[in-house]
Symmetry: C2
Subunit: 558 residues, 2 copies
């Protein structure tokens, strides 16, 4: 029997009308704003109407440091949601939207995989419900208004050399990374250097994903720093009077999107901030809405647990007042082997010793997650080639850490492969043993917060923060930004800043190259390594082979 590809499975899905999916969560049809027959936005007025309800249980799916072998975090999120529904629980999942641009470079990503996917896959990899276009528009409006403000007299006395607000486009376009604008004479304004980032790197994206409602959104947009004056005082978006019109552009985008899994269970897919210079989680409004409508909400965070889960806890949960009830930490036998030194080409052969050696990475993540006071279950995402002995080696290691590991076969079997994990997670969530706490209090100094993450989560000897950066942090503290959490921008491949250092490295430091204030999103970005905010296309971009075939089906996107 030949295996079907993800896209073949997705196209075979027996989708239900989105109104039926909404109905399972008690959303009346008039409060679902349809986009085609299989996507809808949940109306703001309905969201407002359920605010007094009790919250369901929040479950985070995170992972070990990613390896080229693939871990299957989204697949596990989808599988666990389906698994919970299959054992009779009312569950929903919350995941991020995909960025359009990168799909034309490398082949587009499925939302999940195998028999644990969210559909319609094509739409989710193209325009979906237009949220990212709305973010691009809102961002672009502010960009145009800043240069327009300067053009018509620059009443705010913006220093042309210090316009920090760049432009964005949802496309991998390296030629736009660094540009000179307003050339061509008087009518086109004052020439200056600037550039474009990809839309998901926009602070507007981070804000949309952290805002509680439209009022909060407008407030945060107004709080964004867009430039500085010659006296170094900040110029806010509010000074340019753009936040009202930006909110109007974003009013539909703020409403969470509802779609379905292959098993017709509800999936909220909303927002998609960068996981390095931003916090990498789906929107707060999707998560809090799902918690009002379902008894269990399964969500995920970007990258490995050192970055993703830490930001989920210390940024998203802190700001939205969320209290996760359980964590599933996804690992694979293959990834353990790679962490244990096996090359990708050799992953097919049984190698129990390598699995054991590679478990150190897993162990450190378990320890870290427990530190947040949330019970952890390791989900072993099963691959066909895994041997019994290898799986047992992982289970034994996890047991030694005082935790438990459960084999998950959702990729091959859907919810049927997830019964054990779903049952256990429901039990833990219902047990109420979680005592969630953030890693550091709001009051801690900014530099100390960075050091705390570096030493307690990454296990570095220290964070290296030079005098200039410390002075900058101090200045922000003096301006009242000292209570903000830190958003670390670091490689996702290692606890350290060296992507090659797999496993559980020690004896390293975390050098902070640069810090940035995202005053609207409400965090300080600490950049520790090369961060690319505008990708390029490869030599043979996927776009060259993407087309509609004679049946009207998309080829080459997946």
């Amino acid at each position: 029997m030949a295996f079907k590809t993800d896209i073949e499975i997705a196209r075979d899905a027996k989708k239900k009308p989105i109104q039926e999916i909404g109905d399972t969560l008690g959303i009346p049809a008039e409060h679902l704003l349809p986009y085609g027959h299989d996507k809808a936005k949940v109306s703001q007025s309905f969201i407002d109407s359920v605010q007094d309800r009790a919250d369901g249980k929040l479950i985070l799916v995170t992972a070990i440091n990613p390896t080229p072998a693939g871990e299957g975090k989204t697949t596990t999120t989808v599988g666990l949601g389906d698994g919970l529904n299959a054992i009779g629980k009312k569950a929903a999942i919350c995941i991020r939207e995909a960025s359009l641009g990168p799909n034309f470079g490398m082949k587009g990503g499925a939302a999940g995989g195998g028999h644990a996917q969210v559909v319609p896959m094509e739409d989710m990899n193209l325009h979906f419900t237009g949220d990212f276009h709305a973010i691009t528009s809102a961002h672009s409006l502010l960009s145009a208004m800043i240069d327009n403000h300067i053009y018509w007299g620059n009443e705010q006395e913006i220093d042309l050399r210090r316009v920090s607000w760049r432009r964005v486009v949802d496309m991998n376009d390296r030629a736009l990374r660094q540009i000179t604008t307003s050339l061509g004479g008087v009518a086109n304004g004052f020439p200056r250097e600037t550039g474009f980032d990809i839309t998901v790197a926009s602070e507007v994206m981070a804000i949309l994903c952290l805002a509680k409602n439209l009022k909060d959104l407008e407030q945060r947009l107004g709080d964004m720093i867009v430039a500085y004056r010659r006296d170094r005082s900040p110029v806010y978006c509010r000074d340019i009077k753009a936040e009202g019109a930006m909110t109007v552009l974003l009013k539909d985008a703020m409403q969470p999107n509802l779609v379905q899994t292959l098993e017709n269970n509800p999936a909220f897919v909303h927002g998609g901030p960068f996981a390095n210079i931003a916090h990498g989680c789906n929107s707060v409004i999707a998560t809090t809405t799902a918690l009002k409508l379902a008894d269990y909400v399964v969500t995920e965070a970007g990258f490995g647990a050192d970055l993703g889960a830490e930001k989920f806890f210390d940024i998203k949960c802190r700001k939205a007042g969320l209290t996760p009830a359980a964590v599933v930490l996804v690992a694979t036998v293959r990834a353990m082997k790679m962490n244990g030194g096996v090359a990708k080409a050799d992953l097919g052969a049984e190698n129990v010793e390598a699995v054991k050696a590679g478990c150190a990475n897993l162990g450190r993540h378990i320890e870290n997650l427990k530190g947040f006071g949330v019970p952890v279950v390791v989900g072993i995402n099963h691959f066909a080639g895994d041997t019994e002995a290898e799986i047992e080696a992982v289970k034994a290691f996890v047991a030694e850490q005082g935790s438990e590991a459960i084999l998950c076969k959702h990729w091959a079997d859907g919810s049927a492969g997830m019964t054990e994990m779903a049952t256990r997670i429901a039990e833990i969530a219902d047990g109420g043993s979680a005592e969630f706490g953030t890693l550091y209090p709001d009051e801690m100094g900014l530099a100390e917060k960075i050091e705390t993450i570096a030493t307690r989560i990454y296990r570095a000897d220290s964070a290296v923060i030079d005098g200039k950066i410390r002075a900058q942090l101090k200045e922000w503290e003096d301006q009242g930004y000292g209570n903000l959490p830190i958003c670390m921008a670091k490689t996702q491949y290692s606890f350290s800043t060296d992507p090659a250092q797999r496993g559980a490295p020690t004896g390293f430091t975390i050098p902070v190259r640069e810090v940035r204030l995202s005053a609207g999103a409400g965090f300080i970005v600490a950049i520790c390594g090369e961060i690319m905010t505008m990708p390029g296309l490869p030599r043979q971009p996927a776009a060259e082979t993407i087309r509609l075939n004679d049946e009207g089906l998309i080829e080459g996107l997946f």
Copy 2:
């Protein structure tokens, strides 16, 4: 009694679910892809299924040269559609979509006005169904792929100085008119000068509006010229292998949008190309689909009849094989007065002599339109201050031209104010007296085509085409583009190239400054005057006061 504003009337509309509107045209609910409850796209498969049906009658609404007094072309289009339905005919209207960016400069436009509007007005002035975002994405993908092609070795040997494909954004952003890209070193490519236009100026927009179906769309996208080599040979979009992925990005945007008038009659709102460097009409696919579903289809063309109607006939009708049955030429007493020399501030006072003097502009348009073989009825769009004597003066003038003028009170009364016009237009259309013919044959030389438009439509003494431009036209003829129609880019305020020359000027020439080949759209643009393809924002952009109020309603957009 205080008059309600357009937006107040629009918000009071008793909208029907879009499925009910589709039902009046026989579109099954499963073939309407809803966007919210009041907008939908008509599925491509349904469109394919009705191709064997007979066509309804096509009625064009055009106008005299616009004046600051306002003519109400769209209002008349909507009113006539409602009027036809009110007298028991099955009618639909086809109009253009609005561009997002300009709404943040000046206040956004209603689609129609008074009691002759299309709703939902807010959505139509914001993201609507995302068509323009899809066009921006498709355009941006090609832009990125061109620079990426150069970056990875430039196999096509593109001359960096001769990349004619620019970038687009749907925003008024003068700072992007002229820029230098790929600065910052090796990783960002080869620096070159380029710039952004507003999305509606994209050739992709013109193509979407002229393509018969997705296959035709892909073919035309591939045909676009994006650059030239050092030997001056053209590099096509096809050489960059972008047309397939662009088509995928545009597959939903190609499906026409269905909304409704205030009187719950069907309105197709689809596409919106510039009316100067492009042809300024709604999409061919919307018009041809409407003709299969309704007995009468009322549509409009951009600017006055000298530009809009001429391009409608010579570009859109020629390419799509459309045969219009009647034309309504919109005029107002106020516009006649302005053409007759009255200042805007003095329009309130009766001035029959000025009306008579201003009728020359109207007369020339009537004559021109008759030249296309289509019966013309003048629609006098009634304003409250018009006097009986003024109206009679217009009617008498039109009668002298051998045509007829009918007073239209749709702005105040909706369809009830349009009964006479609707009855007469249906009679004319049913009478089959039209013998439509284009102004010039395909085989005519390109320079001669330009001269023909200039002398026979504008009534210039001649078109001034210098040797360099004639050589360019000759080169295109040699390359096989000689059969293309001409798309004139000229001021809309006068028959001449001087916007101040109202009325029916004579004794002028039409200087052609530049010609451009839109090889995908399939026309040659002749630029006669300053054409701005990227607007700027005004000193006090509308965006500064646009916001959501406490009831969640948009303020400041209208």
